[in-house]
Symmetry: none
């Protein structure tokens, strides 16, 4: 990785998260901390960020539209994203839905990860493009304005032509009896297709949505392989799902 690329990545990270740690960057970029320190110093000299003891801060705390509109349960979603990221390995094909949790996942993927991500979500796909070694495939069709994902017959046909290793499913509601449910008919069709096209389905959801229900049925709970929440895996709230043979992380 060339130096300007590395610095661009650092800048992207600092603008996303408002702060970065030298140690973290050193690990994810696989260079010494001294190099990171020198990069931060250089970027600070050019007024791209503010260098502080231990890392750096973003220049403006209020520039990005993402941070301007506050994300609900941000800390929880970050934690979920971290657990999910650990499941992705090099050369995998990964299907993902949309949603803020998936955006968070896209943001914390290590720059060294070399994989192919397939999604119909505009914001999530845009986030993937910032990673140097990730190939992004966008599913085309009509764009649903609410969810900013593509929906429709074309999209579903395309998804069904794929055989992915993993599918990360951001869910709206999950319940041990009714399984996964959603409130948008068209989005449900897309999710169904994604579940069919992946070897393993991983569900991402904040605990608040567990044991809730929405009008449209996506799939029974046991159709998923793994469930990731911000709770510790042995939390009693998750017990009914473990009983159905779902792996809990």
């Amino acid at each position: 990785m060339l130096k300007p690329e590395r610095q661009a990545f650092i800048l992207h990270q600092v603008n996303l998260h408002n702060q970065v740690l030298s140690t973290g960057l050193s690990q994810s970029l696989d260079v010494s901390e001294d190099t990171i320190r020198r990069d931060l110093q250089e970027l600070a000299d050019n007024n791209k960020l503010i260098k502080v003891h231990g890392g750096a801060l973003s220049l403006s705390f209020n520039d990005s539209h993402y941070h301007a509109t506050h994300v609900y349960a941000h800390a929880e979603k970050k934690l979920i994203a971290r657990k999910a990221a650990a499941l992705i390995h090099n050369d995998m094909f990964v299907l993902t839905t949309g949603g803020t949790t998936l955006i968070e996942l896209a943001r914390i993927l290590p720059p060294s990860l070399k994989a192919t991500f397939i999604s119909g979500s505009l914001p999530v796909a845009l986030e993937y493009t910032h990673h140097p070694n990730i190939e992004v495939i966008l599913i085309g069709d009509k764009v649903s304005k609410n969810s900013k994902i593509t929906v429709g017959g074309e999209a579903i046909v395309k998804i069904k032509q794929i055989k992915a290793d993993l599918c990360f499913l951001g869910v709206n509601a999950i319940d041990a009896e009714n399984g996964i449910t959603d409130n948008d008919w068209e989005v449900v069709q897309v999710k169904k297709a994604m579940i069919e096209s992946a070897q393993r389905v991983i569900c991402l959801t904040i605990a608040e949505k567990i044991n809730t229900c929405q009008p449209f049925h996506v799939c029974p709970a046991r159709a998923i392989d793994t469930l990731i929440t911000e709770l510790p895996p042995d939390d009693p709230l998750l017990e009914p799902y473990r009983k159905q043979g779902i792996r809990i992380l």
Copy 2:
């Protein structure tokens, strides 16, 4: 292998992968690193790529695209967008490319406009979704990290199935003799398909790009119907284009 051939290959590589290493090119082209370095230097002098220590980066690499806030020649692009918006009427089907000028156009569309926009550009499509009466169709395929648009065979096939009323083409370089040219081979393929699939082609460009040239050919100047710049229509700079029968706005 002759020098122009070699440089074309380098340019193709850098636009494809965003980045090339001197060592890698030296091996794959079987010439000394000095030769590669001289090539890179020469290409950089002609503004075809950005030379950095150890290799080169594609032109579209700039750390400023992480700061979406500052757009080059913003006032000019707004003016162009206003002229372009006047051409769109209700119930039209409109194909558009990517680029900051097209984002500007998307932003100023009147909320009452009821039309269908088809694009492969992620940022532009996202902008369309903010409009209540606009239907957005996204072209799917591999996402080019440089331009944030989808490129590839699938995308081209889909575009060719469309018959649109208008095509708004954000251009990188236009010249009365060489016509429209661009610096990314894959993007050129998409633009060509869009031109074919539209009844009228409208070119949007800031005056700075007029009478400039890039490595890859898109179409001759007379293949477009309308040219929109921030200049008044009777500016002498535009005279050669008017002579070719292009409508100037």
